[in-house]
């Protein structure tokens, strides 16, 4: 592994920022390392951040970003080194202590309580009180104010968080964070599921906070968000702090190279020319379910990648679950490989002659069994495939696992390690790989690159295209417009449980996606 300076061919640019140089940084880490057993998550990191800036932290999956902010937020103690707040050493033993010092964090794995109401969640640890007891009315009123501040008037403070979509939850999480009047606000991939409208709200918010002299730390794998927003950028790789620089001092290409230690070629693999007249592998007509799907028509042919776009909560998730047999009471016509198909259960879906696979939304609860080994996870859908009678054939199982690991280049030490020891990107690969062993014909992907670094994303894009070329039909839902445009042969935009537009070729542009997503009449033509 080259070090950063060698890579640049020049010593690292010293970090400077107009007018702020002389002040002590608000938060500073000195020589911080963090080990998990044998794993080094952070090594000898010096890091500073200042008030009144928005500071991006960039790096591949597993670079140590989350670990860094967990140390700052009191979730994890550092193994070595120390932390300074306004020049004074501090050692937080819990998130509560960090919060008392003004450091508030929105964690990657959200920290909302599903069975409590939005208002309860926003004021979870410091509710307004009267006579020592929680004042529910005041809490509700102040929640409404906060939600209004981030343009979320549509969220009722009395709703249970369980009933909110992921993007609404992220917004509630943001409301909760700002309710604490932080001096340091940390967002760890807190915008990963937000749609562009909400992202804009968050940008505005962060801008205002900057004016209020708050230090914001922003972790995201979406480069364009970082470009648009941040004053200062820090790149981490393999637990090392590689470099910190000001906005505009590096091109995106350079940043990516700093992050992954090499250049990457064009982000998306080229699309093949469309082949007409193939009979669809999956054909859906007038699919309805509850009040979420109101008559969906889509079809996708072998070799094709169909994108699903649109604002969050328009029925994408339900569509994929309905096809996979998870939902009850689905009506409409579905054909798989030309044969009628009635979804009943995932077990049935995967045993169809034209078989289905689903990479679900949340890999931690729906995709993986975190405490089981990588091997067991990979084999979960495939035991029938590697068994003779009731008994598992060990050698066949081992081959299948080895093949999957090589095919997806999953970075594993030992396949008997628990899957929770993998970084997020590699976990995601495990979810995809376990289905590839099953050799499905139609692959349903629910935002498979959420929270995945650029390098890994690119691998996944390449893999999707390879699978399509090998004759698979792919349905890809993504919140990332670039991804839809770059990857998909065609994109269907969903709005309120219906397909409102189908875009392909020339018409597959960000503008068209946005206007169709908002269901602006005629917008598609614009």
């Amino acid at each position: 592994m080259q070090d950063a300076a060698a890579l640049q061919g020049a010593p690292p640019t010293p970090y400077h920022e107009a007018g702020m140089d002389s002040t002590t940084p608000h938060v500073a880490l000195e020589g911080v390392s963090r080990y998990f057993g044998g794993i080094t998550a952070l090594k000898d990191v010096d890091f500073q951040c200042r008030r009144g800036t928005i500071h991006a932290i960039l790096g591949e999956n597993g670079a140590g970003k989350s670990t860094l902010i967990k140390i700052m937020a009191g979730v994890l103690p550092p193994s070595e080194g120390r932390m300074l707040l306004d020049g004074r050493p501090v050692a937080f033993r819990s998130p509560a202590e960090a919060r008392d010092a003004g450091i508030v964090c929105i964690f990657q794995e959200l920290s909302l309580i599903p069975d409590l109401s939005v208002a309860d969640n926003i004021f979870i640890d410091r509710p307004p009180r009267s006579l020592g007891l929680i004042d529910r009315r005041a809490q509700r009123r102040r929640s409404e104010e906060l939600l209004a501040r981030i343009d979320c008037e549509d969220v009722n403070p009395d709703t249970n968080v369980r009933d909110l979509s992921l993007s609404r939850r992220q917004m509630v999480e943001i409301a909760k964070a700002i309710s604490k009047n932080p001096s340091v606000l940390i967002l760890d991939e807190a915008t990963s599921a937000l749609t562009s409208r909400d992202v804009q709200t968050v940008y505005d918010l962060l801008g205002k906070l900057r004016e209020d002299n708050v230090a914001s730390l922003f972790i995201s794998h979406r480069m364009h968000e970082v470009d648009a927003l941040c004053d200062t950028l820090s790149v981490f790789r393999n637990g090392h702090h590689i470099e910190t620089f000001g906005k505009g001092e590096r091109t995106s290409g350079e940043i990516v190279r700093l992050m992954i230690g090499r250049d990457i070629e064009a982000q998306f693999p080229p699309k093949p020319a469309p082949v007409a007249g193939k009979s669809p592998a999956l054909k859906v007509e007038a699919l309805k379910w509850e009040d979420r799907l109101k008559g969906i028509d889509i079809e996708v042919a072998p070799g094709e990648i169909l994108g699903l776009g649109g604002l969050d909560g328009q029925g994408h998730k339900e569509l994929l679950l309905a096809l996979f047999g998870v939902l009850k009471g689905v009506t409409g016509r579905i054909e798989l490989g030309g044969r009628p198909y009635r979804p009943a259960s995932p077990a049935r879906a995967k045993r169809q002659p034209t078989s289905l696979a689903l990479v679900p939304e949340d890999r931690k609860t729906e995709g993986l069994m975190l405490q089981l080994s990588i091997a067991d996870n990979l084999l979960t859908p495939n035991y029938a495939r590697v068994s003779t009678g009731p008994l598992i054939d060990r050698s066949r199982a081992d081959t299948a696992i080895a093949d999957a690991v090589t095919q997806l280049q999953i970075k594993v030490g030992d396949v008997t390690d628990k899957v929770e020891t993998l970084s997020g990107g590699n976990q995601q690969k495990v979810v995809i790989a376990k289905w590839l062993i099953d050799d499905p014909d139609v692959i349903l992907l629910n935002d498979p690159t959420r929270g995945i670094d650029v390098g890994t994303k690119q691998e996944i894009y390449r893999l999707m295209r390879q699978l399509a070329d090998a004759g698979k039909a792919i349905v890809l839902y993504s919140t990332d417009y670039d991804e839809l445009i770059g990857c998909c042969d065609r994109v269907s935009i969903l709005y309120d449980g219906r397909v409102v537009a189908e875009l392909d070729g020339e018409r597959l542009t960000e503008e068209n996606i946005v206007s169709a997503s908002l269901n602006i009449p005629g917008g598609e033509a614009a």
Partner: protein
């Protein structure tokens, strides 16, 4: 919002079930709707209701306390030695009894938090310890609890006043609206509401719910997770010892009955479920469990007024319990997204 209603629907359903059963019983009873029968009903329900409330708090946290019955028994045995003598001594005895039970709950909490042992197993073990201690304290049943206290506390307000010569021997005019209320009911409601409702509206209480709903999120949100866990088990110990203390006064004695302790623990879980709390945590409340305990008791009341073959009674009781808890399954049938089943 929908979920909020659903949450209350479980409680409302429990309350409705209780009322139907309870009113039906009184309608069939030859002396239904009389003070004597209310007193009897209340007396019989206090201990199980306290133990059910005790069980609720760990359940809300997503755990189970298998020691509640044993702690009740332990408190019962302690009280049988201490609640005697002069009024001051008796009050002191009661305080010590409650303190012991609470301390035992605290110990449960400390083991769960600092030993990082799953509550169900930790309390399975500490429950055995509590029973062992109870057997040492009271190798064979007995005790000399004050007879007046027994009579005063297990009757209506009037008898209480009369026994202790309060309010003009219970004849004071201002007391008249209350004279027919059973004292055990008052004790139950005062302690139940007086402790639970405030607790629920503290950050610690809310944290108990949060832990049951999503523990790591609770921790990340800066909630006092450890403190809440310890508080939950401590409060469970307190409620369980209230049950034990009442039992001691009610029976004027202590009895380290192992099978009774086990039965109370299991019934407390059934009461919690009948009362609409989720064993997965995060949903429900102690007041629901109070109602759940009532349901459990009323079911058995029916055997006393209906003519049912005595040898079929256990079967019928089992079936009714099974059907009652299965009513919760109706919710499952309505679920349209199967992923919601897997919480």
């Amino acid at each position: 919002m929908r979920d909020l209603i659903l949450r209350n629907r479980a409680f409302a359903g429990a309350l409705a079930m209780f009322l139907v059963l309870f009113l039906g019983y009184h309608a069939l009873h030859p002396r239904g709707f009389s003070t004597a029968v209310f007193i009897q009903n209340a007396n019989e329900s206090v201990a199980i209701a306290f133990v059910a409330m005790a069980q609720t708090i760990p359940v809300l946290m997503g755990g189970l306390d298998l020691s509640v019955g044993a702690v009740m028994t332990l408190a019962n045995c302690i009280a049988s030695h201490l609640v005697t003598g002069s009024p001051v001594q008796m009050v002191l005895g009661m305080i010590v009894t409650l303190a012991c039970g609470t301390a035992f709950g605290l110990m449960n909490g400390l083991i769960v938090v600092y030993g990082r042992i799953q509550p169900i197993i930790a309390t399975l073990a500490t429950g055995a310890i509590a029973i062992g201690l109870a057997l040492i304290i009271r190798p064979s049943p007995g005790g000399e609890i004050d007879g007046d206290l027994n009579w005063a506390v297990t009757n209506a307000v009037f008898d209480f006043a009369e026994t202790y010569g309060l309010a003009d021997d219970g004849n004071a005019a201002w007391l008249q609206p209350f004279v027919n209320i059973p004292v055990p009911l008052i004790i139950l409601l005062v302690i139940g509401f007086g402790v639970w409702i405030p607790f629920k509206r503290t950050v610690t209480g809310r944290t108990v719910y949060a832990i049951g709903s999503a523990e790591s999120a609770a921790f990340m949100s800066g909630l006092p997770v450890r403190r809440a866990k310890i508080a939950a088990f401590t409060l469970a110990g307190f409620f369980a010892s209230c049950g034990g203390l009442y039992l001691a006064i009610q029976t004027s004695s202590g009895n380290a009955d192992v099978s009774q302790a086990g039965a109370y623990t299991l019934n407390s879980i059934a009461a919690v479920v009948l009362g609409g709390s989720s064993l997965l945590g995060g949903i429900g409340g102690a007041i629901g469990s109070l109602v759940g305990a009532g349901i459990l008791r009323v079911i058995s009341f029916y055997f006393r007024i209906l003519s049912i073959d005595p040898l079929l009674q256990p079967l019928i009781e089992g079936l009714v319990l099974l059907v009652a808890v299965s009513l919760g399954a109706l919710r499952t049938l309505r679920v349209k997204n199967r992923l919601e089943l897997f919480r």
